[in-house]
Symmetry: C2
Amino acid sequence: MPAEQAVQAPPTDQVTDDIAAFSAEFIRLMRARQRALAAAKGNVRWAASVIISCVANDGPLRASALAENVQSDPSTISRQVAALVREGLLERRADPVDGRASLLVTTPKGDAAHREQIRMRTKHFARMLADWDERDVRQFTALLRRFTDDFERYGPQFHPGKDQMNAEES
Amino acid sequence: MPAEQAVQAPPTDQVTDDIAAFSAEFIRLMRARQRALAAAKGNVRWAASVIISCVANDGPLRASALAENVQSDPSTISRQVAALVREGLLERRADPVDGRASLLVTTPKGDAAHREQIRMRTKHFARMLADWDERDVRQFTALLRRFTDDFERYGPQFHPGKDQMNAEES
DNA sequence: ACCGAGGATGCTTGTACCAAGCAACTAATT
DNA sequence: AATTAGTTGCTTGGTACAAGCATCCTCGGT
């Protein structure tokens, strides 16, 4: 079914723009939801959940690796991790090969929190997607995966352009 | 990496979970990019761009309406708007029917900034999607649109006091 | 071989900023 | 008087940059 893209560019712009717009919209909505969730209960905060998730998935790893994985500043990670350690969701263990570093792992509690978070998230999406048919969900998943992959690859690549969109007046 | 969403079994749960995960991933990436962009130059900040976009699209509207449109607190909007007015990107006009309120419109400068922002965004996505074939892009757009729509509908469904997440699964 | 700079690396802390929310306030509307 | 639109003070969460501290590594001098 793919291939057959004899057309070079004409409609792409419009569609691309739509994607961009919906992406922005999507972000906005997700952020709103994150806030709502965070405010609601003893939920793990968004940033924390990203950290935990990463540690849970990628096994014991260093703060620096973590920072790189989530494309965030080491200092930010350091604080987040410190908070999570205080809360008993993460644990530091000595890195056998480097005394400066420590390896991060989830505690059972952190693991439970992570699973619970996933459960909630999945439940939400399941309800939301209840009236989608299976095929569309699959397709969307595949496309979304590809999209995020591409996004990750192209993300850091943006060239600090020369166009000034917002000439300051102050 | 993960990939086994082949023809297994009742994949709905698995696929839904994937969607949730990719959504989270997507959010993270977008936020990172926003930060990068914001830090790079005199670009409009993310929150500001949301406001401008909304005002540009939905014509003259009140702060309260704006707040509702973007599902944000009036106070937040008030500050954002104030900043944008200071920067000359938005303008207040007296509301003919209510002296307390004012209607917000984009200035030419604000409009230009908005268009430029869209241009950059589109450019980025266009490059990113360069090797997608037309059909997939269209399909993804359609699905993403539907997804954001559904998200918007299901998002605000839980309000404080009416706690439904703690409840046993539904 | 040994040792002790000098530099690199991993992480934490100080500081500052943006964003968002609640609560209290002002002012126009009814 | 009660309501409503908007603003502002305070607080919290999340982030980045810069500086600092601790440890590791690499050499050249002895």
